[in-house]
Subunit: 164 residues, 2 copies
DNA sequence: TATTGTTATACTCTATAACTATA
DNA sequence: TATAGTTATAGAGTATAACAATA
């Protein structure tokens, strides 16, 4: 059962631009939509290797060989602890990562195995064309500026006093 | 049972910056992390009104009173059709949106009810302090530039030829 | 026959709290 | 007592295919 009604024009709060303009002025929405449109071009590479996007982030975060603990991975990869536990187990069972002994036995440190490193390099290689395509279309210098702004916005927002 | 190993330094592919530098050069990761850190500051307002983030996006997309069809909402709000069906049903049951009759009976057009419009205005008002806080910290002019770049990146990436 | 949206289904992630082990 | 992570559990989103209704 559908309730129908004629469209009614509402008014936005003072100073808020209307329609598409208002919606596109939302920072969080703009970030989400930009990520969706760019990520769409890369997802197929991860799919082809049966890697979820969170798993790919973990692979990349570990790519230079420095072991990281679970807490750091949670933060850098934007994954909640319970999800990371599952993801690390799955990646470990696939032989992509391995545990690393650590002074503090509470910490779960992991690093890539050679197989994990090889998969990372394969994925980076395969996705390079798509990356360059976007880079060229947007302009390499502006892309650089955009990346710097995004990272600065993140650092700066995390440094703001807690708002609760 | 945990398999431990000593850390092994791997080498990144040619021309790829190492460690945190490499990871922070990933556009999609930077977009995700920037969204996470900014969204965290707004989520509590949506939570307080029992609105999920996708529901809030739908509310905002409809905020100027122009009725939209399901397909447009899916695209603008980055929600897949099966999820949107559920979301629209829930919002309709809460009295936040209502159906609008349409020439093409295949299209599911919706608009905000007065209650939905009122909730939108309440949320915008409550979150304004957090928005201004981030805006001031980052710099209003740079924020404007960032928003323009994000929207342009999205339009431009969507206009690129299909890559499959 | 193509398009729009819903339903069905399985999987993954989100989110919170409770629990374990270590410091 | 505080910290790091895991487990438990419920809920929501993701994703694909199959279906229904309309154009």
């Amino acid at each position: 059962m559908k309730t129908d009604a004629e469209p009614v024009k509402h008014s936005l709060p003072e100073g808020v631009p209307s329609g598409k303009e208002y919606y596109e002025r939302s920072l969080t929405v703009a970030l989400l939509r930009a990520r969706e449109s760019t990520m769409r071009r890369f997802k197929k590479y991860a799919d082809a290797h049966n890697l979820s996007l969170p798993q790919w982030r973990v692979l990349r975060a570990l790519a230079d060989g420095d072991p990281l603990d679970a807490g750091t991975l949670c933060q850098r990869c934007v994954i909640l602890p319970p999800s990371l536990t599952r993801i690390l187990r799955a990646m470990s069972e696939r032989g992509l990562i391995q545990g690393v002994s650590c002074q503090d036995a509470r910490r779960h440190m992991v690093t890539l195995t050679p197989a994990g490193q090889a998969l990372f390099e394969t994925l980076v290689g395969q996705s390079e064309i798509s990356r360059k395509e976007i880079d060229a279309a947007f302009g390499p210098e502006r892309m650089q500026t955009l990346l710097d702004m995004l990272n600065e916005l993140r650092d700066l927002t995390e440094a703001l006093p807690a708002s609760d």
